[in-house]
């Protein structure tokens, strides 16, 4: 704690016993500091001893100023590292940008021309559709398998916790590594997936997952489901663990069978967790870049291209930075909607 009895004007004006009381009353160290700083509020019986500089210093050390400093650091960091690039990106989407004007900020303003051009391109709508399929397919797969696994480990057989921990390995792995592994699994000639499907009698000829336009997008979805399932499972496990056991006992005595208990207790009690995880899934899925880079590079012929990969391609492959920025703005809108859903779902926590 930064305040010794003689440390500053705030400190020694409160009797020692009073200070101790305030600290003892406060439920946490943060609010105890608030309790002390509130003694400086107008109307409280604290005399102003030092000059404005001393006051400022003591406020920063032990008062409202400290609160502001604490908040200002992360806010400033966020603004600098995320806010400014975001604004710059939005600005670029309304400008004409080429290799020569890349270094300047003030470039010719073209209004909505970039947006009009974008939607005039024949590949735009298919890529947007691909993105929708990718997002819905990935989230559905991750959530359903994740929920299934969470319920499975919830039964708590011997070794359940240990095994559940192992599942997290997939989530810890970098996307590029996961992509490389899935490249082998999905390989048309020697891939293990084709082997299993063939031996299982499901297919008669090899599927070239990565190079067949009919399958390329689903190849990435498959890898992405594998990557995100563990995260879904962990969050859903936490949600399941948060439901008091006696609710199930009460429901059981009220005559509900396992299926009815799932629908009337588990699912409604998991509402906020499910809302949060689907919103997070939407954000993570729209961020998924590595797998596309590693597995299909958006091809063949854009058949597995999605907006996030396409934006990168436009900016850093075609050097059409305005187009890349325009695509990114579209994505910002979607992610914003998902964020609102996420924030709202965590606010409506149901806990009795």
């Amino acid at each position: 704690m930064p305040h010794s009895p003689s440390s500053g004007p705030t400190g020694h004006l409160l009797p020692a016993g009073e200070r101790l009381n305030r600290m003892a009353d406060a439920p946490s160290s943060i609010s105890s500091r608030k309790g002390l700083s509130s003694a400086q509020a107008p109307g409280s019986p604290v005399r102003d001893v030092g000059g404005p500089v001393t006051r400022l210093l003591s406020s920063v050390r032990d008062g409202r100023g400290f609160d502001i400093v604490l908040v200002a650091f992360p806010l400033g960091f966020l603004f600098l590292m995320a806010g400014l690039p975001l604004l710059y990106n939005v600005l670029m989407s309304f400008q004409e940008v080429d290799m020569f004007s890349l270094g300047t900020l003030m470039r010719p303003f073209v209004g909505l021309k970039n947006y009009r051009d974008l939607f005039a391109q024949p590949e735009t709508l298919p890529i947007l559709a691909n993105t929708a399929i990718f997002v819905v397919g990935s989230i559905a797969g991750q959530f359903l398998i994740g929920f299934g696994l969470a319920l499975f480990f919830w039964v708590n057989f011997p070794g359940a916790a240990w095994l559940r921990g192992l599942f997290l390995v997939s989530w810890v792995m970098p996307g590029l590594v996961v992509g490389a592994i899935w490249n082998w699994i999905l390989s048309g000639d020697f891939g293990v997936l084709n082997f299993i499907l063939r031996e299982g009698g499901i297919i008669s000829a090899n599927i070239f997952w990565r190079s067949d336009p009919n399958y390329s997008l689903y190849a990435v979805i498959l890898a992405n489901i594998w990557l995100g399932t563990a995260f879904n499972m962990i969050l859903l496990s936490v949600g399941l663990a948060g439901i008091p056991a006696d609710l199930y006992e009460a429901a059981e005595l009220d005559g509900a069978n396992a299926w009815q208990r799932f629908w009337t207790i588990t699912l409604p009690m998991m509402r906020s967790t499910i809302g949060a995880i689907i919103a997070l899934g939407l954000i993570f899925t729209l961020q998924q870049f590595d797998l596309f880079a590693a597995i299909t590079s958006g091809g063949p012929n854009n058949s597995s291209n999605v907006t996030q990969y396409w934006a990168w391609e436009q900016s850093f492959r075609q050097y059409d930075f305005a187009k890349g920025a325009t695509i990114s703005v579209l994505m910002i809108v979607f992610v914003m909607i998902a964020s609102v859903v996420y924030v709202r779902s965590t606010r409506h926590e149901v806990r009795g």
């Binding site: 008091p244 006696d246 609710l247 006992e249 009460a250 429901a251 059981e252 005595l253 009220d254 005559g255 509900a256 069978n257 009815q260 009337t264 207790i265 409604p268 009690m269 509402r271 149901v350 806990r351 009795g352």
Partner: protein, 355 residues
Amino acid sequence: MTKQIELSGVNKYYGAYHALKNIDLSIEKGSFVALVGPSGCGKSTLLRSLAGLESISTGDLKIAGELMNKVPPRKRDIAMVFQSYALYPHMTVEQNLTYSLRIRRVAKAEAKKAAEEVAATTGLSHLLGRYPRELSGGQRQRVAMSRAIIRHPKAFLFDEPLSNLDAALRVHMRKEIRTLHDRLHATSVYVTHDQIEAMTMADHVVVMKDGVIEQQGAPLELYDRPANRFVAGFIGSPAMNFVPATVGEDGRSLAVDIGEKQTIPLDRQLQPGRKVTAGLRPEHLHFVEPGQGVFRLPVGIVETTGSATYITTSTATEVTVVDTTRRPVRAGDVIDVSIRPADVHIFDAETGLRV
């Protein structure tokens, strides 16, 4: 009288731990039975076994004459009020009440009518639209009870339902639960660690310790004739005084060792020289004129509550005396007290069993 719940030779093991030991208990239809004992005595395990939330290892459990050993809880037609209330937090009071009816696919209008009827009797009518988190402790307690009542089950099980309430509300709800029982005449099993709750509410009290039923019977029977030292010390407040004693040469007197030997008369013949423990209830020790009493005791601590004064002696074996006459007594005084021979409980010094 028909038996609503019958347990015979019931044992429950958790691995090597023997939680219930050879329990025989029969509960008559419409009676109010309290299971009481210190924590870890198995009373909650026994209750949960009745509900089917725990399975019994050996023995037979019958409810309304039917063997229930393997029947799952949802088919036992038993309602339970949990210590935590276990209200469904995502449902309104009305939805909580009608849950069991909705599970059984009772028509909506009928379920709503039933909820309104029950709510009217438990004073919840104005709260039907609220969520559990918006209710006070006492109101939640009532919802939990109403949820049980609405089903007209074969038996009500209460698992320490009052322990989360403050003292005043607890006394109030105690009466309310008993009134409800008298109105519904439903078989009720009530688990508590509070002997006052058990004594005041139940028709039949079952005292348990370490998975064994120590004694069962009507409340006053347990108070008047405790079967052993444990029951004697558990029932009654303040607790019974236990002092080591030896039966006199004539077999009709007792030499009691409270720091110094004092002799009290007996109303029965015992084997001379036998080592026993004398149980003296604080409320049975009454003041007498100096020289008239059987005990002369130095006073250690005096606690006044207004209605009664608790006097603890400074003898080696502490003895508590309850006085309701507001006699002026101070620490350091010497008091003369006596006891009627019929009020002296005698337990074997070795086994603790009633002599």
